[in-house]
């Protein structure tokens, strides 16, 4: 019961701020709304008995990713009124089609059922959630782990290559 109340609080805040992300005029306000949404998602992870995910979510998403967004907005000075988006016909189309998408997804969800056999990771086993994840990450899922490390390297190199100023040849 208490869990349910918490879930609804988190969910409502998450949805409202998600809507604020896509509707607010200034990217800065969008970023704030995004922070709130991401924190709610972290809270949802706690409801799903995954404190590790919640911590990682806050650490990586809220602590780093949104900061990057803010950096981009502030360094390029995009937050002010200079950049005005115009209303265009696609807005209506976009809203209608995403509502349509939502309805279809909802309909499919109502027809779905959880039939898969459950694994052995019950709540009792997951009491040491972090340790279990760590073990799995470095044994069974070592392959994606290594690929992700390559991916981070590539992203690092790429970001530097794309942005590094070459002897003042670029503007800005």
């Amino acid at each position: 019961m208490i869990e349910q109340i918490f879930f609804y609080i988190f969910a409502i805040i998450a949805v409202v701020s998600a809507i604020a992300v896509v509707t607010s005029k200034s990217p800065i306000h969008s970023a704030i709304a995004l922070i709130i949404t991401l924190l709610q998602v972290a809270a949802i992870f706690i409801l799903l008995r995954s404190p590790f995910l919640a911590a990682v979510q806050v650490f990586v998403y809220v602590g780093a990713v949104v900061v990057l967004f803010l950096f981009a907005v502030m360094l390029l000075d995009l937050g002010g009124e200079k950049i005005k988006e115009q209303f265009h016909q696609q807005t209506v189309l976009g809203v209608i089609s995403s509502v349509g998408l939502f309805v279809v997804l909802l309909f499919m969800l109502s027809r779905g059922s959880l039939t898969a056999p459950t694994g052995g990771y019950t709540e009792a086993v997951l009491a040491k959630n972090t340790e279990v994840i760590g073990k799995v990450l470095f044994t069974k899922y070592i392959y994606p782990f290594e690929v992700v490390s390559l991916l981070l390297l590539v992203a690092l190199v790429g970001a530097v290559v794309l942005v590094l100023n070459q002897k003042g040849k670029d503007g800005v």
């Binding site: 392959y143 994606p144 190199v157 040849k169």
Partner: protein
């Protein structure tokens, strides 16, 4: 947990090369660097040799597999990489501020392709796909002095990330249906879930996400802009490598993991196939820029390849591999010719190709053969491939698709012939001869010969691909 790290030696060789190039970059002044390209080509050849000696089997707790399909596709990727490295050597003088990271990023991209071909698990597959995608975003934007290149990169990353989101959401529901992420485990558990709504969501979004990666309808919108704006070697990489990589995972996911619920995805894949065929080929007709035209033609090709997937048979899958092989040769051959042309002319419009036959018969014949192969004219490789695919569709009773396929082959002939007419029948605006150096000459002769041979003697390759395809349907 078995690790068998030895099975990853080919990937390690490529990665080692990528790291070496990355580190050497610190010590070498900026500017063109032919040797890096040559190094990449040698590396691809060495890797291909090592790869062919590898035994089949799995590694890294079964998440990495090496089997006949991955062998075939990896060889294909290495071939593409070697050819595109060659293309880059020719292309690099066009770029001011040339930075050598380009070569190492291309090697990372190839490693990503190889990982994709070997992934046997949704998680491994997803991260490999993202490795490839992120590398390609960077490469497409690499010539950031050019306004078109950055625009292409931005469009690519927005649409690419959107499709990754779809894919991921779809995968999450497939995982929800089965509780597993390994392809074979999913295959075993998915059978009884025919009417499950979770599976329907998972399938639809996964297929849509993958459609983007191979530039099929309805997510093709990105393709022309990105092809036009990217540096030309990357356009070729997107056209040939990315498409092949996309289809190897489509084979793995739709045929291996979800093959048992073909009834669920058949309609969707058929619609995508038909729509891509019709739209891609019709939209290619009015194009003025060759890169854009090839992009739309690529959408059409995705249609044929999806048709082969929809057939879900030995013949279809074999034909798919055959098609990709001929496609790779046709695309890389034409693009190398186009790069040489661009080096002297600075343009990719169809008009500017006028009179190319007189200015450089070799370039003209290469583009001629490449495009006719893409159009599927006998006796070139592309014809055999299209023939097999349509035969597979007919064999499986996909009559409507087969008819569309035949009709669109005719349409494709039309727009490729426009280019050929321009090259052979129009008078040249600029009559200056275009010089082709001897290595390139040999290479282009070789590629043309392969394309013709694939059409005249399809036997050996057909036997090989059909044998591989057979392993999927036992």
């Amino acid at each position: 947990m078995e690790m068998n790290i030895g099975r990853l030696i080919p990937e390690f060789i490529m990665l080692g090369g990528a790291f070496v190039l990355l580190i050497l970059e610190f010590f070498i002044p900026k500017g063109p660097r032919k040797w890096a390209g040559v190094f990449g080509i040698c590396l691809s050849v060495v890797t291909a040799v090592v790869l062919s000696t590898q035994g089949y089997g799995s590694a890294l707790s079964g998440l990495f597999i090496h089997d006949a399909i991955s062998l075939y596709f990896k060889l294909l990727f290495l071939l593409v990489t070697a050819l595109i490295f060659y293309m880059t050597i020719l292309y690099e003088k066009n770029i001011e501020n040339w930075r050598g990271e380009f070569y190492s990023l291309m090697l990372f991209c190839t490693v990503g392709f190889m990982f994709l071909a070997s992934s046997s698990d949704f998680i491994g597959f997803y991260v490999s796909l993202e490795l490839v995608a992120i590398t390609l975003y960077i490469l497409a934007t690499f010539t950031r002095e050019k306004s078109k290149s950055v625009e292409a990169g931005l469009k690519y990353i927005v649409t690419g990330a959107l499709s990754s989101g779809f894919l991921l959401y779809g995968i999450s529901f497939i995982y929800g249906t089965t509780g597993q992420t390994g392809f074979t485990e999913v295959a075993a558990l998915v059978i009884n879930n025919g009417g499950n709504g979770y599976l329907a969501i998972g399938l639809a979004l996964t297929v849509l996400g993958l459609t983007f990666k191979v530039s099929g309808m309805p997510f093709h919108v990105w393709a022309p802009d990105i092809y036009e704006g990217s540096p030309t070697p990357i356009t070729a990489l997107l056209a040939a490598g990315s498409k092949a990589a996309g289809f190897v995972v489509i084979i793995r996911i739709l045929l291996t993991a979800l093959g048992s619920v073909r009834a669920e995805w058949l309609v969707l894949v058929s619609v995508i196939s038909g729509a891509s065929l019709i739209f891609g080929n019709l939209a290619a007709m009015p194009q003025k820029n060759i890169k854009r035209m090839i992009a739309y033609a690529g959408v059409g090709s995705a249609g044929y390849l999806f048709m082969a997937v929809a057939a879900a048979s030995t013949l279809g899958t074999g034909a798919l591999m055959y098609y990709l092989t001929t496609y790779v040769f046709a695309i890389t051959g034409s693009f190398i010719a186009l790069v040489i042309f661009y080096n002297s002319e600075g343009s990719y419009t169809i008009e500017s190709l006028a009179g190319l036959a007189r200015r450089s018969p070799l370039l003209a014949i290469t583009i001629f053969i490449g495009f006719l192969s893409l159009a599927g004219v006998p006796p070139l490789g592309g014809f055999i491939a299209k023939f097999y695919i349509i035969a597979a569709a007919v064999q499986q009773g996909l009559w409507a698709l087969a008819v569309i396929g035949v009709l669109m082959a005719v349409v494709a002939m039309y727009y490729f012939l426009i280019v050929i007419r321009s090259m052979y029948l129009r008078p040249a605006i600029n009559t200056e001869k275009i010089r082709v150096d001897n290595y390139t000459r040999i290479l282009l002769y070789g590629i043309n010969a392969v394309t013709v041979l694939l059409g005249m003697y399809p036997g050996p390759l057909t036997d090989w691909v059909m044998a591989i395809a057979d392993t999927l349907f036992v």
